[in-house]
Symmetry: C2
Subunit: 334 residues, 2 copies
């Protein structure tokens, strides 16, 4: 794993050449990190079909809505959802202001590095961790906290910034869809305000096209200055049956294409598939223990079980990461 | 008031010429229905400033977010909010299925034409009317109901379809902002699913850029077909202090320009004005009893009182409809 940042003008010139070559390659093959095969072909066929004017499958640009799960679909989610690492780092950062946490679960276990013990409290414990780290500040303060974390935190096994743990083939897919008039949205169980500070530079997806779970906020005037304060109260869980609800609430139009990787995405894919006209549903199957991780039916994170069965029955596209992707992360180009 | 639909090929040709002339006029003056004056000039100055690349006030396209109230700002709201006329029409349409309404308030009074009596029950009565007419069906069914109503219902005094009761100067303003790279959003106290079926053809604003009040929905499988069922339970009130909350929830980015007409828009304007860099806030003041309606501080609908004072103090643009607008509705061109 080599650093790719140019250190000299020679390097800059080389990168320039590379960029030119890449642009040319993209014109020839819009999905260069995808191996030729059924999965890649199904994407190309769908896009060709809905963009061919005059064809019975043509879809007007305004209706070309594509929704993407985030964790395990656009970026990795192992060994834990990255937002949970964020929460852990925040607990450590906030601990000096909370001496009581030394005696108080789930914080006491967390601070001793015992994540399993901390999570023994189940959903209640998880909620306490989320509220202690995600609420109690203004939206602008939280935005700055997330940006700072994203700029400095490193993944525990790859030691890469989390925003480099994004799937190169999916970045190409996002760009390819947008080049063909699609509006790309994220529809994730993750926190909406945890994603928005970085999805535009990393995925090219602006904040108004990010849908996620949220806590409530409250408008307040502080010394005459309007602020939105983040409250320790759940607003919406954008997972499973919540995903079509979130899509309806934010977009108000049914997607024609949906991309996921776990049972949490099943209802989003069902909702997408049930519309009239051409539809495209895809699941990323994590099959590559060497370049990424291999997990599915038994995993507590990103479990893919019922949705995998339904994909087979309904002939949705299933991406076999090991077979279908030439490379997984840009920092590990073959 | 003459019909403007072409009835013959001659008429079509004339309309073609007119369209050409209008396009030319728009190039010369992007806001032809606005009289020259302070209000118009303040809009032109703001747009020139934020779009001039290299200027200290330049705003990148991605951040050119403009939010518009709907009732009384983009379309009329007298003698009652139009969504309330929709609810009344729905009560009448549904009455045969609800024989009990003959004896049950607020429906009994409504069905006798006694709106005042029906609303004597205050917010509780209003909520009952909303839930009886807006919940209990799927989102697709509700969409069809709204589209049908919009296509057939007529305003009680002008006898025009409600979607013709939109302000021509504001349509020009929306188009002008979009021509200059702005993304235009609606942020209304009205129902999000009541607006979305028609905002795209009428205002050029797609469903994903409409923010409004909502009831909860629930994902369900009906005979294997996924549906979203509208529940008789409030989800969000997008009014007053709710507007910045709704903006944050849906857009995740602070607008640089906001347009309203009542005290219900005050917090949206405050939130917009409080951002860094150039900001633009505008209130439409209903001063034209002849061409529209004249009302402000004492009105129960669209009250403009505190916000009018704050606009004066903060030098926000206040549009005097009578003085600043050459025409109000396209069907009543001078």
């Amino acid at each position: 794993m080599k650093a790719t940042r140019p250190q000299s003008s020679l390097a800059a010139a080389l990168v320039g050449t590379l960029a030119f070559t890449t642009a040319n390659a993209r014109a020839a093959d819009p999905l260069p990190s995808w191996n030729d095969g059924k999965a890649k072909q199904s994407i190309l066929d769908f896009v060709a079909k809905v963009t061919k004017s005059g064809s019975p499958d043509f879809v007007p640009v305004a209706e070309r809505i594509a929704t993407f799960d985030n964790d395990g679909c656009l970026w990795a989610e192992q060994p834990m959802y990255f937002q949970f690492f964020f929460a852990l780092d925040r607990v450590k950062a906030l601990a000096p202001q909370h001496p009581e946490w030394k005696e108080q679960e789930p914080f006491a276990s967390l601070l001793k590095g015992d994540v399993k013990g901390a999570l023994a409290g189940g959903e209640g414990a998880m909620l306490e961790i989320v509220m202690a780290t995600h609420a109690g500040m203004t939206t602008e303060e939280f935005d700055a906290i997330v940006k700072d974390w994203v700029a400095t935190a490193k993944h525990p096994t790859t030691r890469r910034p989390y925003t480099e743990m994004v799937y190169q083939p999916m970045l190409e897919l996002l760009a390819y869809l947008r080049d063909n008039g699609f509006k790309t949205f994220i529809v994730s169980g993750g926190g909406i305000d945890f994603m928005r500070p970085w999805t535009e530079p990393v995925y090219g997806i602006p904040p108004e096209q990010v849908i996620g779970s949220s806590i409530k906020t409250k408008f307040d005037l502080r010394y005459g200055k309007p602020v939105l304060v983040r409250l320790p109260e759940l607003n919406f869980i954008d997972d499973k049956a919540g995903k079509p609800v979130g899509i309806h609430q934010h977009i108000g139009r049914r997607p024609i294409a949906a991309f996921g990787n776990s049972d949490g995405d099943l209802q989003m894919l069902q909702w997408t598939a049930a519309g009239n006209g051409p539809r495209f549903c895809l699941l990323v199957h994590h099959t590559d223990a060497e370049r990424e991780w291999a997990y599915d039916r038994e995993s507590s994170i990103g479990r893919l079980d019922t949705a995998l069965d339904e994909a087979a029955q309904r002939r949705w596209t299933v991406v076999d990461m090991k077979e279908d992707w030439k490379c997984v992360f840009a920092f590990a180009q073959p």
